[in-house]
């Protein structure tokens, strides 16, 4: 799907930059997904208060939990990345600093998401 009709718009190709509706919409999409996912997360965490590793591992190993948790991780970290991007755009003036921080934030979110997902998969696959 292309949002850009003009030649200059296509040349600039602002995909994940703040200019353009893509960022706004993806922030809303992840937000909508995170409403039920967060509620699920909170109720799960409360139910697991003070639990031992065996109980938590068993809970995470179930397919339903693995799917929900992975969805939470993906939607959550992407929502976080988009949100932080806006914050950085607002407060960091120096262009070099702004770009550097954006890169660090993006890579960190991706790295953390992968660490979480692989941990969940490890338990779900019986690691």
């Amino acid at each position: 799907m292309t949002l850009r009709k003009s030649p200059i718009g296509r040349a600039r190709g602002h995909g994940s930059a703040q200019e353009g509706t893509t960022q706004w919409w993806q922030q809303r999409l992840t937000a909508i997904a995170l409403v039920p996912l967060s509620i699920w997360f909170v109720t799960s965490m409360v139910a697991l208060t003070g639990a031992e590793q065996a109980q938590v591992a068993a809970w995470l190993a179930s397919r339903r939990t693995a799917v929900m948790m992975t969805l939470l991780i993906v939607a959550g970290f992407y929502h976080l990345k988009l949100g932080l991007q806006v914050v950085i755009e607002d407060y960091v003036e120096n262009q070099v600093m702004k770009l550097s921080v954006q890169v660090v934030v993006t890579f960190t979110c991706i790295a953390l998401a992968f660490i979480c997902i692989i941990s969940v998969l490890k338990l779900a696959m019986g690691g």
């Binding site: 937000a31 409360v46 590793q53 065996a54 976080l80 949100g83 941990s119």
Partner: protein
């Protein structure tokens, strides 16, 4: 050409605090705080995979008085960001922009945040037994 410092009108130092502006910045702050919460979740998940000993260590740290305090902060941030986030989504649909509605929904979010945080913590203590 070097940037010439221009005079700036005072804003935060003079403008009256209102529910609308306070809730707006709180939404941003809670969002950033939840980034820290994501780090905690990662740490906890990795510990769950590492083994019983490591997980027990992490649970003990989270269960300490300081850990619980941090967790309380994250709970408040989560419930606030969730409730106010829904308020934002309603605005995105085009509803609720009348000023009295904005204030009413705003206070609803504040009350809901406190109520949900209290409820979840009471349940947690009931399950855990202190």
């Amino acid at each position: 050409m070097a940037k010439v410092p221009r005079p700036l009108s005072p804003h935060i130092s003079v403008y009256r605090w209102q529910l609308t502006s306070v809730m707006s910045i709180l939404h941003r702050i809670s969002g950033v705080v939840l980034g820290g919460g994501a780090l905690l979740l990662t740490w906890w998940l990795v510990a769950a995979v590492e083994g019983a000993e490591e997980f027990a260590r992490v649970q003990a740290i989270i269960g300490s008085w300081f850990g619980r305090l941090v967790l309380l902060g994250f709970s408040l941030a989560l419930f606030y960001h969730l409730c106010n986030g829904i308020r934002h989504l309603v605005w995105d649909l085009g509803y609720g922009f009348e000023l009295n509605t904005v204030y009413r929904s705003g206070w609803t979010v504040v009350v809901a945040t406190l109520a949900l945080t209290l409820l979840s913590w009471l349940l947690g203590y009931a399950i855990r037994g202190g």
